[in-house]
Symmetry: D2
Subunit: 328 residues, 4 copies
């Protein structure tokens, strides 16, 4: 890391999220600002193994800030999990005269970066790009805010039809291990119940709560369920169970799926992408490595990559209580 | 029908669609303009049986034009399918001093209206409100244009993530008997393949076509499938089949579901609602009955309700060809 | 025109409109389907004079269907209005081995095409691309539907704040010579008054009408004004006049401006673009020229370019009446 | 303040902002949760003077979470600025058996609340509702996030047409005293220049910067200008000046205006509204007064109202630098 950084590469890795293009754009422009070169690696680590890189200048990232997905494409690479794969990747890294790497992605992508750094002394900075918001060291991950708006807009539409028909809707949203999307979008969409991986209230409590809603005069309801909900039942099983036990309800299920990953990023995610991308380049120029940039208390901070991968940040109890109160 | 019309009622019936509120608003304001009274029947025919009616004035429909769903609510009424049910409904119709009925809904709702008219001589005018666009006598049904935009916006988001990962997505859209949504939204979203109830191309042709796409360098694809697709396979079975036969593809399924019914109506649907609602009231004032208002060649026309229910309008062959050409 | 068409060029000219990219895409894919070559001319006629052309294949138009603006760019060319300019353009036309031209634009662009055709026998087909919907020979121009949705969405937002404060808003929308946007978006947005170039109701009638609204209990109002409104007053003068004569109102002005031209095209415009683009290429292959493709009665038709330029299609009286009734 | 709180009132005051309805809803539901009564005061302080109050229960706030504006309406009250006006307001406050007041608004509304508290010992809690984000004691005001998204979406549309025509657009956004909207939406929209009240770079620097952009190959540009920009020139004067000095540019102006205040709130603003509303009620129940609730470091905090009104929070220098780097 004592060598001067004059040329870096940036990649997007793992599941895509809105704002990744804006982050790549920020990395590229920060390189130009700092008079260093920048390359883009296509399809994440696999692209480095395949030597699939393109030079990136100001022009390459024109009009990308508003686009969902990632124009560098993303992939999960099995080969990079092997010593041989990483050796190939490093060979290409050196042949392209690269000095450092910016990895935009989640846990898995950062772990890959850490191993690569350990084996080949490649300076790596991570940018947390995932809609799940489940990464330690940043209060908000890139794409999370956009995903929340997407989910809320869709549930607003579902509520239109739910309240026209006195229906009960189970809406499954992303979040295998973390309930951030379910809890926040659930509050935002005015959901009557929210089921998340962090809490197992039990299916009986759901029935009780729906009965209370019913008695208070509500004729339609929305239950938001995170993929990784802890009841041990799929959203379809939950719906069946409720329909059997509350035959007065006309129950429907909607699984939002991959649309949650796409879409033009919100202003929040675009600004966040800009700040994280600029800071990532600055850290490399300062000779730093093995850090993830993040936003905390509205400031751009950095966290040890190892910590970012190992630790988790938790659902706020206050938010659970707010959700309870608002669903009265 | 020789009696002068001085008080009418309006209901929304069957599946809801965007623009129903705007149509109710237009009916109400056309009544005020023509100095007649207007009541709203809650929950379709069932509300008439239950005598659940509310007076509607200009104030009641304020700020409704932009809202999805139907504030009069909708329902399917088993009771109205019986002679006794309809007799109850008629009793309430008379006791409320109603002279005529405007029914906003689809096929089933119009059939109910025709029987009610036959049995009790109640003047009935239908307004075609359904996202499926499958009603004879109108080139566009109320809510269809909005649903198309909803579907295209969602598929745009899915494409973001599809093209970031070289994925093949099967997207199921509404349309049990008609492929209007699938075909038009498929073209609008730039789908590589579109499967509709009106055409059975066979699953082998799908595989062939995807192979052609693949060879031409496409690395991600969207296949739009109407609910009532004629391959005889569910969208999940289709996806499984393709994944087995084209293992190079990472296949995903997204079922859009009820969100397609909701949302703030498009300008087209709002204007259409206005024109249809105004014309429905005019027809009643002209002493007409058993007609459905519709839009044809950009003019508001009327069609015999019986014809509207019995006949269907077909998918345009030109559009199928355009879809083929554009997916090259 | 007896020569076989094997290579054509497409340009976008004049003011841009949503759906232009989708139309270029359709032209390109229709060329591929019909085994002919396609080039894109940059910046309209000026690009032909400057020999600024690019080859277009399926890849060049990937992911363009959802984008507003025109990636071929547009411009107004003074040089093309001269004999010398057109001679230069024709020289480049021949040197690029082009057989025919597709021009996406409005009146002015078509006039240019007609003169070019007269002088140099170049087969020309026009596609009506303008948000103003003021072209004879098509019930809908490309971009008009999208612009209506844009305007309605913005006025919905303005109404939020208007009704929170009992305010009267004057909203100026595009339409120098035609009131299509003002009338339809005005109805769609539930405007209390709509001022268009085709009708001069006089400013006193506006005051009267606002007084009626006020008496009926309305505490906020939206007046939609087309740029080319016939009162002879600017929207700011109108607002001043009303504020002086109705001091009880808190009057505000909003000029929507160029945002109306942008944005991702609606499904309607995308499908229309596909149909028009495909048909334009077919007409050229059939040896036709000097025609504009259009949509009438939901079918793709063609009109003599001269007629398209000289004639106008008029505002529907029925729509004016509907607007009146709905603003009660 | 030693009396037990059993009945409170909530009002929205000053300029409206998206999320105000969601905040009222949260206050109402928090009251129900805590078994106290809640009333809504119409049109801010003026409504209290006019004794225009309505009881609010769970039903009154149904389906309000997604709506822009404020259903309680807002106003600026001259009368409340007088001792007599406040005396009348207090008389009504007592006659309605109210124990405390929640005021949703900005600086001016809080000042009113403080004086009311001083004179009549009325417990007051403020919720910062304004799109300007210029209130000390909270990192985000209610409605700010939504306004940012609105501005960015509109500028995305303007960019479509700007880049189709090589145009330079001056876009004026709200912010008389604070550049938060201009700076963040400018970064989010990828603006080439951002002019804010906090910094006077001088018009010559703008010309220099546009020249640099031009030389780097940019053919279109967006300059975002806050209302309160310090150049001392209006956005139209700025545009004129640049057009005269850079005749190669086709310059246009767009003033976004009041649309920035409207629209369905973003998920962020809805969740924020929920948390602030719940906390405001809790503080009253804890016997607190003269506090403003806010969000800091992702926690709900409270600040002395006096501080909130007197102090300001500043633009982050880091953000100015990021804006500079990204506009390269």
């Amino acid at each position: 890391m004592s060598t001067k950084v004059t040329k870096i590469a940036v990649m997007t890795s793992g599941g895509d999220s809105p704002g990744m293009n804006a982050a790549v754009r920020a990395v590229v422009r920060a390189c130009i600002y700092n008079n260093i070169e920048c390359m883009g690696i296509l399809r994440g680590y696999q692209g480095l193994i395949d030597n699939d890189l393109i030079p990136l200048d100001s022009r390459s990232v024109r009009n990308t800030i508003s686009r969902g997905g990632t124009f560098l494409q993303s992939a999960r690479s099995k080969e990079f999990r092997t010593v041989e794969g990483r050796a190939k990747a490093y060979k290409n890294f050196k042949e392209n005269n690269l000095d450092a790497l910016v990895v935009i992605g989640g846990d898995g992508s950062f772990t890959g970066g850490m191993i690569f750094n350990k084996e080949h002394k490649v300076p790596v900075i991570g940018i947390p790009g995932t809609i799940d918001n489940d990464i330690y060291g940043t209060q908000f991950t890139l794409g999370y805010d956009t995903a929340l708006n997407t989910v809320v807009e869709v549930i607003d539409k579902i509520r239109d039809t739910a309240s026209s028909h006195n229906r009960l809707f189970f809406v499954e949203v992303m979040g295998r291990d973390a309930g951030f999307i379910a809890l926040n979008a659930g509050i935002g969409a005015g959901a009557e119940e929210i089921l998340i991986p962090e809490e197992n209230l039990g299916i009986e409590r759901l029935i009780d709560s729906l009965n209370v809603s019913k008695k208070s005069g509500k004729t339609s309801s929305i239950v938001v369920v995170a993929e990784g909900d802890k009841t041990g039942k799929s959203v379809f099983e939950l719906a069946d169970y409720v329909e059997k036990n509350m035959p007065e309800y006309d129950v429907r299920v909607s699984v939002l799926g991959h649309m949650q990953r796409g879409g033009s990023p919100s202003c929040f995610d675009r600004v966040l992408a800009g700040r994280l991308g600029v800071r990532a380049v600055e850290l490399l120029l300062e000779g730093k490595s093995n850090l993830m940039v993040g936003i905390n208390n509205n400031k751009i901070t950095s966290t040890n990559l190892e910590k970012a991968v190992k630790l988790h940040h938790d659902i706020d109890k206050e938010l659970l209580k707010v959700a309870d109160i608002l669903s009265i």
